[in-house]
Symmetry: C2
Subunit: 342 residues, 2 copies
C-alpha cells in the first residue's frame, strides 16, 4: 500500500501544524539537501508545451529515494476559474522501485517555493532587511510573506498587482496575521524603500515587471515568476549589475531570467553559496538576484518532510497504487479464475 | 476531483470484462493512435538508473490529452518477493493542465504490452502462424498468450524458462483456458516448429536467449524483454538477416535489441507499417522482428481505454489530488483562519 496525502489531508495537516512551522520544517530539509547537492541525480525538467500552458515532470534521486513532481503552468487558468499551477508528487524506494508516497503538491509547491526563496534570502539579502516589496499577489504571495517572516523577520510589505481583487485578497489574508501592508499603486511605488523585492507574476511573456531604474544598491531580488521559456519579469539590465544566484544553472538558462542573457552569463548555484564554495552577498551595496525557477530537489525535500511528519497520523490514507501478488511472477493470478474460451 | 482506478478496481474490472475482451479493446485504441502517430509529442523516456534497477517516466501528448506513466524495472525483485515491474499512470487535460485520471498500471502495462505485441504480429507474422514459442514465462507471459489468441487465433504454445516454478505457474494459469502447451527443456526445443517466438526475460544483461541458428525463415520474433540499455535477448546476427520493426526508433536505439547494432541500422517504425507507408512482412520466408521496448503512446491508449470504460462504474473512485479553491488566486484561503502571531 502507498501512503497518500490528498488536498484535505495536506490542508488539515498544515492548519493543525501552522503554516510558518511547516515552512520552517521544509526550510530545514531544503538546507540539508542543498548542502549535499552533489549526491543528487539532476536533470532539467521534462516539459510539454502547448498554446494553453505547460505540463512538466520533475524527477530527481539521491540513490536511496526517488521523487518526481507533476506540475502544470497555465497563465490563463484563473480567468476560467482554475488555478494557474496544480501539482502532485511521488516518492519511491530506489531499491525496489515501488512508489511509497503520493501527495497533493499544489499547496505544498507554494510552501516549498516560499521556503526556498527564504533559504536563498538568508544568504543573499542584507541582514538588516526589514521591508519587502511584492509584485504579484496571486496564489503564491501569502506563502512567500510568511516564509520571509519566519526566516528573516520581515513584517512590513509593500504590495502591487495589476488585479485589485488579488491585492484585496492578500490584504484580507495577511492583515490578521500581523503584517504591516502598504498597498502601492505601481511597481515603482512598491519598490520605494524596499530591501527585498519578490516578483511573482504569471504572464507567459517577456514582461518587465521591474524596471532597471527602480533597483537600488543593496536590494535583494527574489524573482520567482520567470520560470518558463519566454517568461521573464526583470529588465535584463538589472542582471548585468547584480550577483545572480540560481538553483540549477542548466535548467535556469532555459527558463529563468537569465534566458535573456548569453549562455556564458556568470551565475552561482545556491548550493555553492550554502556550502561556502562561493560568496553570496559581498557588500551592503551589492544587488543580489535569486533567479528561481523551482528545481526537483526542492520537491524531494518537501515530500520527504511531509511524509516523515504525517506518518501514522489521520492526515495520511493508504491506497492500492501498485499490484503486489503473493507470487511476484504470478501477476495474471490476480485476475482470478477465467472461463475457458470455446 | 480526479478519477482513480486502484489495483482492486482494475483487477475487478478486468475480471468482470474478461481479459481477452480488454486486450481487444486496448488493441483497437492502440491501432487508432498508432495510425495518427504524427500527431503525438514524442520523446525517449526519462530514466533514472541505479545498480538495483531503473525508474522511468514516460510522457506523451496529442495536444488534447497528456499522459505519463511511472514504471520501474528491477530484475532482482522477484527473488525478494517484489514484482520486477510496477507502474501507475495519469491522464491530464492539456487545456487547463489538471490531472483527470490516475490508474494502477502494473496490470495494465502487461495488457497494453501484450496488445501492442499482437498488433505488430498481425502485420508481421505469417497469416498461417499457428504455434508460438515463449521464452520467459514470468509476469507478462499469460497476457501475451491471450493477446496472440485474441488477435491471431494462436492456441498452441511451446514454453521455456530457466525457472521451473514460473513454467508451472504459466501451465496452471493457461491450461484451464484452452491452450495446448508443450513444456520444452530448452529454448532450442521451444523454438522447434514455432511460427512466432516471444522472448520475455528479465535479466538486466546482454543475454542470448535465442541463438541465431535456431531462427528459421518465416519466423516472427516478438522480442519484448530487451528494453533497457545493456539488456538484450537476441543473438545480434538474427537482426542482420531480419526485417526489424520498432515503436519509436530514437528510444529503441538506446534500449532495444538494436542497441547491439550501429546507429544507422535500418529499422521501420510500426506506425509506418500500419499506415501502409512501409511494408511489413514481404514474403513467407522473411524473418521479422518486433523489437519492442514499450512506448508512451501505448500507455496513453491504454489509459484512455480504461478511463472511457470505467467511467461511472463502481470500479473508479474519486480522489482529491489537486486543490481547487473557489477563488483560484486564493490558495492560501484553503488553510482557513490562522491566529495572528505576536
Amino acid at each position: 500500500m502507498t501512503s497518500f496525502v490528498d488536498v484535505h489531508g495536506m490542508v488539515g495537516w498544515i492548519a493543525r501544524t501552522g503554516t510558518e512551522s511547516v515552512i520552517a520544517g521544509i526550510l530545514e530539509y531544503l538546507e540539508h539537501d542543498f548542502r549535499r547537492w552533489e549526491s543528487f541525480e539532476k536533470s532539467a525538467r521534462v516539459a510539454s508545451h502547448t498554446p494553453f500552458g505547460v505540463i512538466e515532470l520533475m524527477p530527481t534521486s539521491d540513490q536511496e529515494s526517488y521523487a518526481f513532481k507533476y506540475v502544470n503552468g497555465h497563465p490563463s487558468n484563473p480567468g476560467r476559474g482554475y488555478q494557474t499551477v496544480t501539482a502532485f508528487g511521488v516518492l519511491a524506494d530506489v531499491h525496489n522501485g515501488y512508489p511509497t508516497f503520493l501527495a497533493e503538491m499544489t499547496v505544498l509547491t507554494a510552501l516549498r517555493t516560499a521556503a526556498t526563496s527564504a533559504l536563498a534570502a538568508k544568504s543573499l539579502a542584507r541582514p538588516d532587511s526589514a521591508v519587502m516589496a511584492m509584485i504579484g499577489t496571486g496564489s503564491q504571495a501569502e506563502f512567500q510573506a510568511l516564509a520571509f517572516r519566519t526566516a528573516l523577520g520581515i513584517t512590513s510589505l509593500r504590495v502591487y498587482d495589476v488585479d485589485p481583487d488579488a491585492i484585496a485578497k492578500l490584504v484580507r489574508n495577511l492583515l490578521p496575521l500581523g503584517f504591516a501592508i502598504h498597498v502601492a499603486g505601481s511597481a515603482a511605488e512598491a519598490l520605494d524603500g524596499a530591501d527585498i523585492v519578490t516578483t511573482c507574476t504569471a504572464d507567459k511573456a517577456r514582461a518587465t515587471v521591474v524596471a532597471d531604474e527602480l533597483v537600488q544598491p543593496g536590494m535583494h531580488l527574489n524573482a520567482i515568476g520567470g520560470d518558463c521559456p519566454g517568461k521573464t519579469e526583470l529588465d535584463a539590465a538589472i542582471l548585468d549589475r547584480s550577483s545572480v544566484v540560481v538553483e540549477y544553472a542548466p535548467q535556469t538558462r532555459i527558463e529563468g531570467e537569465i534566458q535573456q542573457r548569453p549562455a556564458d552569463f556568470p551565475v552561482t548555484e545556491l548550493w555553492e553559496v550554502l556550502t561556502g564554495r562561493a560568496p553570496g552577498r559581498i557588500s551592503a551595496e551589492d544587488i543580489t538576484v535569486f533567479d528561481s525557477v523551482g528545481f526537483a530537489i526542492e520537491d524531494f525535500s518537501a515530500l520527504r518532510f511531509v511524509r516523515d511528519r504525517v506518518a501514522g497520523t489521520a492526515f495520511e490514507q493508504r491506497i492500492e497504487l501498485v499490484a503486489d501478488p503473493d507470487d511476484p511472477k504470478d501477476l495474471f493470478g490476480l485476475m482470478g479464475a477465467f472461463s475457458p474460451v470455446g
